[in-house]
């Protein structure tokens, strides 16, 4: 028998039921159990190990251990030239390569003072929003798989396959794209590609209500997710949680609206926020539902961008790429963009040479994962999977 340990009540949200359970557990003699969840656990979305201290079914403490996928992006970036870093940004968050390329390219362009044409900006927005849909398809599909629904996973990956085919035709890559370069793009859009994008949006539009019918408003699913793993807005702001997780907590914050880049201010779209339609604001269902609504908003942006590209005269998409990066302006910059998972920021120090002196990558998944140790106490073991899936981490982004 172990001695009775002091129970630290979680600072985060705890329903009254859980507090009563804590009080009951206080009275009961017994041992706490340590459970290692991962790194091979299929529901941890990669190689994440969560060390859980449990009392029966209840989690007293959850500590994420990371670093299994560390690839030294920041150190590698100091040893290669500026344009060579672009394929390495693909591998940060491999579900949304285009948005990583966009973040790096925009940061470097602002540092070097490069202006790209309006057409290049529009193609970038179109490609980035396509990748946002692909990323949310992975997020929602794998989340439904974690919860126990198999069919939506297959349906959503089928939708994602169409986007990957579009990317293959656009730039030759399906997952790791290397499309958006500093000062331009790797390829111009091929003939007839915009027609295929139009076909895709027409195809995708009825799929979202079908997903809602199949999964989102299914009673089994909503009962499973409502009031589970609530992350309130103040905790999100303390921990630097961004993206759909922050919007799920009811905070209307989207860098595409608040700090527009690449011409996002000219597009007409809304920011979906969590409203607590099935339970409390900021629960797992809200975070799920924000992603579903973001797919609809991204489709709106794609249609507008495709409409503009059809009217624009063609130009050279590589016109603004510098001939050489041997001499660049010295200085430092922090530039942030709205990646599908949250705020992706690059802090770059340049000393005027062909290689950056220091690169710091502020990865969204890392900050989003940090909130896990705050929210985990008071959850059931089964709800841990629901929590990890709902904050949508990619371990390539966490470890970098």
């Amino acid at each position: 028998m172990s001695e009775k340990r002091e129970l630290n009540l979680p600072l985060g949200p705890t329903p009254e039921k859980m507090q009563a359970a804590y009080a009951a557990a206080d009275q009961m003699p017994g041992e706490f159990m340590h459970v290692q969840m991962g790194p091979q656990h299929p529901a941890t979305h990669g190689v994440l190990r969560v060390e859980i201290e449990t009392d029966g079914e209840m989690i007293l403490k959850g500590t994420p251990h990371i670093g299994y996928l560390h690839r030294c992006f920041e150190k590698v970036a100091e040893n290669i030239t500026w344009p060579q870093i672009v394929p390495f940004t693909d591998r940060l968050d491999y579900c949304s390569s285009m948005n990583n390329n966009l973040g790096w390219s925009l940061a470097c362009e602002k540092l070097f003072g490069i202006e790209v044409s309006e057409r290049v900006q529009t193609i970038r927005v179109l490609a980035a929003e396509l990748n946002r849909i692909a990323n949310h398809c992975v997020a929602l599909g794998s989340y439904s798989l974690d919860i126990g629904a198999w069919t939506p996973f297959l349906l959503l990956f089928q939708e994602r396959e169409h986007i990957l085919d579009l990317f293959e035709e656009l730039c030759g890559g399906r997952l790791l794209l290397n499309y958006i370069w500093i000062g331009g793009l790797s390829h111009d859009i091929p003939d007839g590609w915009l027609k295929k994008v139009r076909d895709f949006t027409e195809y995708m539009k009825p799929k979202v209500p079908e997903l809602n019918q199949l999964l989102s408003y299914n009673k089994i699913f909503t009962e499973r997710l409502a009031n589970v793993a609530v992350i309130p807005a103040d905790v999100c702001l303390q921990y630097g949680v961004t993206g759909p997780n922050l919007r799920g907590a009811g905070v209307k914050w989207d860098l595409r609206k608040s700090e527009p880049y690449s011409g996002y201010e000219t597009y007409d779209f809304d920011i979906p926020v969590g409203t607590g339609e099935m339970g409390q604001v900021g629960d797992a269902f809200d975070r799920y539902m924000v992603r579903v609504h973001e797919i609809e908003q991204s489709l709106r942006i794609i249609e507008q961008a495709a409409g503009r590209l059809e009217k624009m005269p063609g130009d050279d998409v590589q016109a603004a790429i510098p001939r050489t990066f041997a001499k660049v302006p010295a200085g430092e910059i922090y530039f942030r963009t709205e990646q599908p998972k949250g705020e992706l920021g690059f802090y770059i120090v340049s000393n005027g040479k062909s290689k950056p002196q220091r690169v710091k990558c502020r990865a969204p998944s890392f900050s989003n994962l940090c909130v896990l140790s705050k929210v985990a106490p008071g959850l059931l073991i089964a709800d841990m999977v629901a929590l990890i899936g709902s904050i949508d981490i990619v371990l390539g982004d966490v470890d970098r």
Binding site: G172, S186, N218
Partner: protein, 188 residues
């Protein structure tokens, strides 16, 4: 050790039991997809409404998925019309490569009209990140990534493409004949 056992009895009432309609609604959606697909396949079989494409399963190893010509697959080196290598060993691809996977040893060409040619041209496929910078950098269109075959796996860690393999002249490994097939597909 004293154990406390609590027996919990659970009697599902009406509120818990109304998940049955949800199960059947999900089944209805998945079954609708199945029958719609089967109907389209049946119509296509008789040549009716062939514009509507039903879901297709590729019979993968025998019948690979059609790839787009921009797909970045494996590398190959191109030749001139007289059979000589296009590559002039200018080292641009080796310089641009972010992963240092290309290794070139330049040498004097036997042809007096050509200054240099690569005596060795090796690509370490396990280091390659398939970014496509080498194709973009090449000034004489000597290297391409249009083999449209992407299955690169092996049981050893020395998947290194030599010059002969890149030109498609040697077929020593099982994955070699892809190069020749790729060239044939390109020509046809």
């Amino acid at each position: 050790m004293q154990k406390k056992v609590t027996n919990i009895t659970f009697n599902p009432g009406f509120k818990e039991n109304i998940y049955y309609p949800e199960v059947f609604r999900g089944l209805w959606i998945t079954n609708r997809h199945f029958f719609v697909n089967m109907w389209r396949h049946t119509l296509n079989l008789f040549g009716i409404r062939t514009k509507v494409r039903p879901a297709v399963t590729y019979q993968y190893p025998e019948d690979p998925r059609p790839a787009h010509y921009r797909l970045r697959g494996r590398h190959r080196l191109t030749e001139k019309q007289n059979g000589a290598m296009r590559c002039t060993a200018c080292m641009l691809c080796e310089t641009i490569c972010p992963c240092d996977c290309i290794h070139i040893v330049p040498g004097e060409s036997p042809d007096p009209h050509i200054e240099k040619f690569p005596e060795e041209f090796t690509i370490d496929l396990l280091r390659c990140c398939y970014c496509g910078f080498c194709v973009e950098a090449c000034p004489v269109d000597a290297i391409r990534m249009d083999v449209t075959r992407t299955e690169m796996a092996g049981y050893t860690r020395d998947i290194i493409l030599t010059k002969e393999l890149l030109l498609g002249k040697v077929k020593a490994h099982p994955w070699e004949n892809w190069i020749a097939e790729g060239v044939e597909e390109k020509a046809g």
